[in-house]
Symmetry: C2
Subunit: 159 residues, 2 copies
DNA sequence: CCTTGACCTTCCCATGATGGGAAGGATCAT
DNA sequence: ATGATCCTTCCCATCATGGGAAGGTCAAGG
């Protein structure tokens, strides 16, 4: 079958199938004389595998490992489990980060009247004007402050 | 002060300050004769505002609105609150999506022995081989399946 | 046989926010 | 004057994905 059929059946777009081939996640396919890519049911099976792994948030790099383990009859399930656990850890880290943001914002929004007056604790907090409502700070994690790497300027005193 | 100082004091990298200027999030600064950007304490204040908003996960586009509201004395706090609530909603949507992935994976990992044997429910699930463990599916949302848009091929029967 | 339309090919560009790094000019302290 | 440290602009890379153009292919119908 051609790439369109394979895309339809696997749920992976033709664009992405070509991309996966270009980065080596899947091997280069057989081509017709005219240069059309040709896929088998087995190829579609592999593509479905890849799509499900993507749906679970695995990166393309991780999927490369998973695919090769999947096709390796002598694999050890501990290898697969390690990848899965690592990914779960990463997902939970992201969840915690997002939740921290959401919590902070919810506290701020609770204290914002949300009417036609200009007073707004949300903007006050963003502005760092501590002279007003700072209740949210008692939560200990206002401003989730994603690790943006250390600043290491050595500016001394000019200007 | 120069851009390095402004970056250090605001916590926004010099790279990002230039980027924010290029996309119009902040206005073009005054320059010295030599072309160096010059920043005031007020500018640093604005940059801090932006950094805090970024730390809360607001997009640059949203921040643009927040900054203009912040600087608008006649603003209505309801506008700010609406943006904040919308963002909270978006954060919670992402959290739910990630949590769904993590839950599914945890179920699968629980049933994977993780030893030297090749049997692996995780791979089996990704492969769609339903003849084994399908307990995770009873959760109703195995495979978060991000909406990938409908396929609308009209291929009829060739191949 | 030729047209039409749906398909395929490759190539380039865009996303969003960020960093890396090169080439070259400016400033500053010694 | 020299070297260190700044600054400038410009290009490239990330990650997974889609859009779209220009052009080739194929099957069906006139």
């Amino acid at each position: 079958m051609n790439i369109g059929q394979a895309a339809e059946r696997s749920g992976v777009s033709a664009k992405m199938i070509r991309y996966y081939e270009s980065i080596g996640l899947i091997p280069k396919t057989v081509r017709t004389e005219a240069g059309y890519r040709v896929y088998s049911d087995t190829d579609v099976h592999t593509l479905k595998f890849i799509r499900r792994a993507r749906d679970l948030g695995f990166s393309v790099e991780q999927i490369g490992v998973l695919v090769s383990l999947w096709q390796d009859r002598g694999r050890e399930s501990t290898d697969v489990k390690r990848i899965a656990l690592g990914h779960i850890h990463e997902l939970e880290r992201k969840i915690a980060e997002l939740r921290s943001m959401a919590e902070t914002l919810k506290h701020l929004a609770q204290h914002c009247h949300g009417d036609s007056r200009p007073e707004c604790p949300i903007l006050d907090e963003l502005a760092g004007e501590d002279h007003l409502h700072n209740c949210a700070k008692r939560d200990g994690k206002i401003l989730a402050s994603a690790p943006r790497g250390p600043r290491k300027n050595k500016v001394t005193s000019h200007s």
